[in-house]
Symmetry: C3
Subunit: 247 residues, 3 copies
C-alpha cells in the first residue's frame, strides 16, 4: 500500500522534468522516509540522486518499502498536465500494476501510469574527496551554462581561492563567467581545481534551478563534479563525469 499527497506539486514536476531528459526508465524507491531515485544515464556519464522527503507530503502512507518502475518521459508528460493551483496525489494501484496520479481542483483527473520492470540493484554513489565546495545562487550557474552554449559544446569549471569560473572557447569567440567569493553562500576551497564537462548534460541539470535558489558545487581536478540543488524537503543531486581535455 502506498498513498501520498504532495504539499507543493512544483517540486516533483520540475525535478522529474530535469531528470527525464537524462534517464528513461527508473525505479523509484518508496519507504517510510520518503521517495528516492538513483539512476545513471545510458552512457554512464551522469548519475542522478533524487530525494523527496516524507515532509514534502501532507499525507504519506506506505505499508512496506516498494520500488515503482516508471518510464520517466510518460510520468513527465502526466505531471505537466497539472497547473500551479492543482493538488497532486500518488497511489499504488496493485491490481493494475500501475501508479495512479490524481490531479485535483474543481475536477478530479486520474492518470494510470503502467509500472515497468526495472533492475532492483542499488546504485552506489561514489564517495569522492572534493577540494572545492561552493554554494551559490543557481541562476548564476544556469545563465553561465547558457552563455557557454553559444560558443561550444563543453565548458571548464574552475574554482580558486577567490572565484568560481565557467569558461568555454570556440570559433565564435570565448566566454568566461566569473562569480566572486562574496556572492557565494558558502565558499570552502582547500586548493584550486578545474575540470571540463559536456554541456549536453549540464543543460538538463540546470533545469533544476527553477525549484532551488541555490546549488552546491563540489569540484576537483579531473574528477566528477557534484551539483546539489536543495529545497525544503527535497534534494536533487547530480554527479557528472569529466571530459578528457584534449586542448
Amino acid at each position: 500500500m502506498f498513498k501520498a499527497n504532495l504539499k507543493d506539486p512544483k517540486l516533483l514536476k520540475h525535478s522529474i522534468d530535469a531528470i527525464s531528459n537524462m534517464v528513461d526508465e527508473v525505479g523509484i524507491n518508496v519507504t517510510a522516509e520518503g521517495m528516492t531515485l538513483k539512476a545513471m544515464d545510458p552512457a554512464h556519464v551522469a548519475l542522478v540522486d533524487f530525494e523527496l522527503k516524507k515532509d514534502a507530503f501532507d499525507e504519506y502512507e506506505v505499508s512496506e518499502p516498494i520500488v515503482l518502475g516508471v518510464d520517466l518521459d510518460r510520468l513527465n508528460t502526466i505531471l505537466k498536465r497539472a497547473g500551479t493551483e492543482d493538488r497532486i496525489s500518488l497511489e499504488l494501484d496493485s491490481e493494475n500494476n500501475a501508479l495512479r496520479i490524481r490531479i485535483k481542483n474543481s475536477s478530479t483527473r486520474t492518470f494510470n501510469l503502467p509500472l515497468i520492470e526495472v533492475s532492483e540493484e542499488e546504485l552506489k554513489v561514489p564517495d569522492l574527496e572534493f577540494p572545492c565546495r561552493v554554494e551559490i545562487n543557481s541562476k548564476i550557474i544556469s545563465e553561465g551554462i547558457k552563455d557557454a552554449e553559444i560558443v561550444s559544446d563543453h565548458v571548464v569549471l574552475k574554482i580558486d581561492k577567490e572565484n568560481l569560473y565557467i569558461t568555454a572557447r570556440g570559433d565564435l569567440g570565448n566566454v568566461e563567467v566569473m562569480a566572486a567569493k562574496d556572492e557565494a553562500m558558502s565558499f570552502d576551497v582547500k586548493q584550486s581545481a578545474s575540470s571540463m564537462f559536456s554541456l549536453e548534460y549540464l543543460k538538463d541539470m540546470i533545469k533544476a534551478s527553477d525549484i532551488a535558489t541555490t546549488v552546491k558545487i563540489s569540484l576537483g581536478d579531473s574528477i566528477p563534479v557534484k551539483m546539489e540543488f536543495l529545497a525544503q524537503d527535497m534534494r536533487l543531486s547530480f554527479l557528472l563525469a569529466p571530459r578528457i581535455e584534449s586542448e
Copy 2:
C-alpha cells in the same frame, strides 16, 4: 447594405478561430437579428451553429438579409491582426463583392476580403432527444480533453446521476477526468449515457472556452454530443457525431 461595429472584438475573433479549423468556406447569414453561421466539416462529422446577436454590436444596420460567402482561414488571419484595444467594424462592399473589415485605433486599418460563392441551402440542425444535459465550467472540459490527448486520439464522454466523466485509454496509460454534480451549474440527468468521440474535433471545439466560462453538454448513448458555449449575445454550438466503439 450591411454595416456593423462590434462591441467586444474578442467574441468574433475567438469564435472564428475555433470554427476555422473545422470548416473552410461558409456562408454567414446576416439578418436584422444578427449574424448566424451553420456549417458542417468536410467529413460531415461535426456541425457548427454560431450566432452573434444584434446586441453584440453597438452599431448594426442591414437593409435586407444577405449571405456573406467567406473563406474562414482568411477571415481568421485578418481578425488575428486586431489587438485587444482595437475596435472592429464590418461592412459589405457590394461594388467589389468583398467584406470590408476595419480595425480602428490611432490608425484605421482596412482589410478587403473577397466574397466567394457558397451553396445557399440551409443546413438543418437535427432535433435530438438527450437524456443528459449538464452545464459546467468550460475549463474543466478543455483541460480534460487535453489530458485525454496524452494517451489516445479518442475519448468516452459519460454522464451518470452523480458525475460527468471524460475517459481515454492507450498504451501510455489511462486517463479519467471526473467532475461531480456539485461543480455543475445545472445537472439534468434522466438516465446515464455515454458515447465515444474523436479528439481531433474536440480539440478545436474547446478553443471556445476562451470566450465562454460555461459549456452546456447534451449527451446520449451513441448519438451526437452537443456542446454549447454561451456568452452574452453569443452562442457557439457544436454537434459532434460519435465514433463507433471498437474496443
Copy 3:
C-alpha cells in the same frame, strides 16, 4: 584604447537585432563622439545608418578613432544573453584582436568576439530631396507592415496632404492602413508622393520600433524611403530603395 559602459543596454541590443538580419559583417566606427555604423545589405537595396552617441554611455573612453570589424550575427547572439537588469560594457582587447563584451550583475560574464577584416571605405549616404516628411508613432508603421504581410510581399507607402497610407494587394484580399495628419507628431508635405517597397526589408527595419516610440518617414515618388528611429542619444536610420511597380 577603447572602453565604454552602456547606460541602457536595450538600445544597443535592439538596434543590432534590427540591423543583423540585413547586414552580416560591418565596421563599427568608434570616435570621441560615439559609435557609428554605416552599411548596405548584400543586395544593395537597403542602407543602414546607426549612431549611438557618447551620452548613451556613462563611461566612454577612446584614445583615437578605431574601426571594429564585427560579425553582426555573433554580436547579436552575445547581446541577447544580457537580461534587462544587466549592465553591458565594451572594450577593445588589442592583444587578441577582439571586442570584449562584459555583462555584469551578480556574476561577471565576459565574451570575446574576434574582430574581422572589413573594408574601410566610407559609405556615402545619398542626399535626397523628399517632398514628404512625417513623424509618427512607430507602432502604427510596424502594425501596418505586419498587416500588409498577410496578403503580399510588397507595399505601397503613400503620403498626401491629409494622410499617410500603407497599402498592399494580393489574391487573399487588400489591406489599407491609414493614419491621419492629426495622429502625426509632425507632418510636412509639399506634394503627394508614393513608392513601392519590399516587405522583406521593412519587416526587419520595424524591429527598431521596440526602442523608438516615433519614426520619421521621408518619402518621394519612386525614390528610396528614409525611416529614422530616434531615441535619446541614439539614431537608427534606414534608406530603402523602391521596387519597380509592375502592376
